[in-house]
Symmetry: C3
Subunit: 349 residues, 3 copies
């Protein structure tokens, strides 16, 4: 943990407007309710202004326009355009990631031909294969297994028990949480009378810079060619990415979503949890897909908000649900109408 | 394995009523069909009484009232209020869990500041971080990685390759199956024009006593504060628990269910498999949620049985399904009615 | 990698009809678009014949009948009944799996009573328990943990960090991808006033020959008896198989599907991804179940194609969807009919 920052330093770093005591020392972040002396909290929603005024936080990050209109009680109040972003940025300063000594642990097994930066840390029981390359300041934690010809850029963190199969390539500033598995064979077989033959899975996986991947997520190698995860993309826990997928930049995918082979997800898409993609689907730039949606093979998902199984525009989904909700009334109407028609028929008989 | 128990000892231990030979030795448990000499089986359902009378089990646990009415053929028959519970309890006696020698394996890497009970077992290639504390009689199996400041109570079993990140705290009698991952960063980001900034994930996870967690389940640390799993709660394989969730006592959650951030599940809830929870939902005490259900963000799930996507009371779900089933008939009715109205109109023209 | 094969050798091995230069050397496989000199590609669909004629592949595997009708431009063209199967088979020859030196790595921990074939490879930080048996030519990669009394046949590959609990048995030519977990306790409890008691989980798991299991898939041991995966069956990543399941031969199960306890899946079934099975369901030989389907407990799924939650024959599912699509029109019709009946009533008043 750092030694803390003065409120004036925080205001300067975030380019915010400081009201109150700039000399006061801030040592940690906190939420509004649990904040105590020496902590900084944020509020970015009018709903929580009351909670914010009662907060014990020494320093408060608030929307710039609230500085004029609200009386906060913290010793230092900093007005910002985007207080939550400011909070995230100052958290990085007050709570910097762990730095390990640049050592290779005695128990790690390193191939002679591996090329490891002097500033990298390799933890206990890690295994590094032939011709693997590990960049500057990387933290390779306990039990990680790196295959032959793996390439890892600078400033990456691989948490315990991550497995990278042979030939996988990772950019810089990538975070892989515990148990992530990259490069296992894709799920492809050819059937004959006897059973299934393995379709070759000899491609690779490329992970670009600034990607973060949640615990136990599995990304399969391409059959031929490569599976790709673009720059700045974030995957949650236990996501499945099949062979030959191409996932763009700044895509967000929540937990337990499953992506079949050869799916393309373009930049800036947002995908909920437990979504399922049939193979060869394409999600266009900026599309948003709700949790638990199902996308049929080959489907193109255009920009907009999508929902349901099979996936449809959220508006249509809601309209259909409204129709469904009126079904009981429709049955009543139908019954009544039948009786009235019967009566008319009787009159005219 | 134990040396076995006499039928009279079993009856005494379970406080049941013994009929038959109390001196006979019972060495293992079995199901009705595969039971042989020396085994104990149970029956708790009238449907299976015929199978039970034909069973080769030496000892049979039966509902107390069946002692009077059914002629079982086993050498020893024990009447109990709850035969299945009795079976589970006697299984613990006849098949006690493995006990390891209290050693720290040569290949384990233990931080100097770690505090490990003399009665604990630490397996091959385990890694124990700075200031970690491990209680009495714990079994830490091969490849487990415990971060700094991890606390583990007494009598816990951590199966191979479990990962606990720094600062995680576990109660007593907790069982973590292979590959469980506790304390990875929650999935939270703040977006700006450039992409996603990591929202701080500096909270922790607390697991209470008597919790059992299935293989590869992942429980994320809180952003701020803590993620909690209450006493006696049981999670199946590959469950995802997001940051800041609060899961109560004696909750049961089946495999592959995904729980987004800040969800509250109160005591004694029962959750099926592959259920998905939006963030900030609350499940009230004793609610039962069927498999594959989907709960929208912020929803409160009251006591009762719930089903579907989005989740609704099971009764309503069934009623709606009945309406749906009558849709084809409704279309027929509508068509017929149109014809009749047409005919009436023609008559009156 | 092999030294390559001449086109005539490939034609002979696949028993195909060669047109063109049989002496030309083929060193690797490729897809049509990315193929270059020295590579073999395949085409098995008229749709791609144009791409195939433009391909730079030196050798092309094509449908036997296309030899007569299409002018391919590759130096060697081989006509086959099943070009994709031929491609898979020649890939095995051109890209044989890695062979490791038959050594036990210094850092592996092997129980004295374990019986390991001289031709097997045991990687860094692997752990092999008491009385475990490992067959010929097996590759046990880094960080694998094998419990006591585990049995593994010949020619198996266990990728890094696989965990087999005590007593699990694996056939020959089995591939387990990274992080596979076999033999964790099934999810079974008996409830009383105090909470949940563990139902005994003392059975085992048997995996037959030629099974391949994807990364992080978990297969639980039986409560009593055994959980079984039949010969030639293929499981994708993160599949959950509950206790006492019996899965037949040549079954294919896609990623993230969850199978509750005591489910029977007969031979040659095909199951999509993210499917959920209630306990005690039975899938009959040759049934096909679409992705994301949900099967209620105890259901019998007959041969044919099934879809939806709860699962129904695909035809019925489509018919119901068509009815749903006409709901808006039905409401219109109903409204119009009401007006007309009203008019008739007014006339007759």
């Amino acid at each position: 943990m750092s030694q803390g920052k003065r409120a004036s330093e925080i205001a300067g770093y975030l380019q915010g407007r400081l009201v109150g005591d700039g000399s006061i020392l801030i040592e940690r972040i906190a939420d509004l309710e649990n904040a105590g002396p020496g902590s900084v909290a944020y509020v970015d929603n009018v709903k929580f202004f009351e909670v914010a005024t009662a907060s014990q936080a020494t320093c408060l990050l608030v929307p710039i326009e609230a500085l004029e209109t609200v009386e906060f009680n913290s010793a230092a109040v900093i007005g910002l355009k985007h207080p939550k972003l400011g909070f995230a940025r100052i958290a990085e300063v007050l709570h910097p990631p762990i730095v390990r000594e640049p050592i290779i642990h005695d128990t790690a097994v390193i191939a002679e031909t591996a090329d490891i930066a002097l500033s990298a840390y390799i933890g206990p029981h890690a295994t590094v294969g032939e011709y693997a390359r590990i960049g500057n300041n990387c933290r390779i934690e306990a039990g990680v297994v790196l295959g032959a010809n793996v390439t890892i850029g600078d400033d990456c963190v691989l948490h315990p028990n991550v497995v990278l199969y042979d030939g996988i390539s990772i950019g810089s500033r990538v975070i892989l949480h515990a148990g992530v598995c990259i490069g296992a064979d894709g799920f492809g077989y050819v059937r004959d009378d006897m059973g299934y033959h393995k379709f070759p899975q000899i491609g690779t996986v490329e992970i670009d810079d600034d990607v973060e991947i949640g615990a136990h997520t599995c990304i399969d190698r391409a059959a031929l060619g490569k599976t790709r995860i673009g720059r700045g993309t974030k995957l949650d826990n236990m996501v499945h990415v099949g062979h030959n997928c191409d996932i763009g930049e700044r895509v967000v995918i929540a937990a337990q979503t499953g992506i079949s082979g050869s799916v393309v997800i373009e930049d800036d898409a947002v995908i909920g949890g437990q979504v399922g993609f049939g193979d060869h689907t394409r999600v266009q730039k900026g599309a948003i897909i709700g949790s638990k949606a199902g996308i049929l093979p080959g489907k193109i998902v255009r920009p907009g908000v999508w929902w349901g199984i099979p996936v449809q525009p959220l508006d249509e989904y809601k309209r259909m649900n409204a129709h469904l909700g009126r079904l009981p009334q429709m049955r009543e109407d139908l019954k009544e109408l039948k009786a009235r028609v019967k009566e008319l028929e009787d009159k005219l008989r």
